[in-house]
Symmetry: C3
Subunit: 152 residues, 3 copies
């Protein structure tokens, strides 16, 4: 079975760094709303816009570990190309989510579900990749080779 | 020294994906209690059951990064078999923790400590694995070979 | 292109485990302030010192995913030595941040910015490493070899 190659992680690495920047940007938005409204930490209360920005940031964080797990396991065990594409879709959806939520709470809903579809796609790739790797390692069955032989 | 092999990460990958699903499930429980009690985001206040579900989810998140670090470093530098077993124990304890906490606050305590024991076990494996890798790389000492030669 | 070697991840692994311990320590400080002030979970209100400890822990968590991404991508795609050094600087800054914040809110500011400089340094290494890996893989351009040939 193959060893992990740096070349197979480049696109997933780029998406992960983009995710890190996005998480920091959400923190920066909260910080700038703190300054604008004169709400020094550790105060967590303020005008509705500030509360919504806090909740948007918190929700991004709640899903950040799940996203990183799904991104890397799908990139490593399945393939980086679809993993990175779904990762970019997730980041786009989260960008719309944060922007929409700060404007008005209901605007968070459609991009939230888009981000969940991207996440479920990544989870599907992860599970498919892990099943393939497990069958290859422990049962000597190579699903990819079998599929190719049937098709070509 | 060895390169990282995909086959040595399968079980740890499966546990990580299980962890991702567990984190999402806790978010889904909070979401369903929001709908049941009519508490739309960004509101964070509600009946005691809702508050306890929020806190359970938050505590799972607080430990999620620590768990992922301990899981992967122990799996990579020590061995995936004990890492994955302790990982499953952690996920079981966190499942009981979330369920118990939502029922009644004191019910969170025994599974919390079980999850901490699993986490400490993983941290121990990580440290042992890193010491082994460090001595092998920088001092030319192979603790595993030495142990084998003494025993056999 | 090279496969991922365990030896190239040792120092980054050590810093990651140190980070995991630091996150747990912040949780333990909040727990001990809960006991000292008689604030059982799920209560989130209490004296100012307790609120500041909660916020310090929360801020550490907010940046934990960003830090882990930056640490591992810089260690994997650039080099573990500068990544681990900036990682230690980050952990030192976060230690001062947590301690300072619990004493008095303004004391959190200088170590917060130090932690941000360390994080930006890591992000810079990540991006440099990813550009290098991408050019090498997709354009056949090796920036490191080119730089050496110009210099020596």
């Amino acid at each position: 079975m193959a060893s992990l190659e740096l070349r197979d992680l480049i696109w997933v690495g780029i998406v992960a760094v983009g995710h890190a920047f996005q998480l920091e940007q959400a923190a920066a938005i909260v910080g700038s709303l703190r300054r604008k409204n004169g709400i020094p930490p550790p105060t967590m209360d303020g005008p509705p816009e500030f509360i919504r920005a806090l909740r948007a940031q918190q929700n991004n964080l709640e899903f950040s570990v799940t996203f990183e797990i799904a991104l890397w396991t799908s990139g490593v065990f399945c393939h980086q190309a679809p993993a990175a594409m779904l990762g970019v879709l997730y980041l786009y959806a989260r960008h719309k989510y944060t922007k929409g939520y700060i404007e008005d709470a209901p605007k968070r809903v459609p991009p939230f579900w888009l981000s969940m579809y991207a996440l479920r796609g990544l989870a599907g790739l992860s599970i498919a990749g892990l099943i393939h790797a497990g069958l290859r390692e422990y049962a000597g069955v190579n699903l990819v080779t079998m599929a190719r032989e049937r098709i070509f």
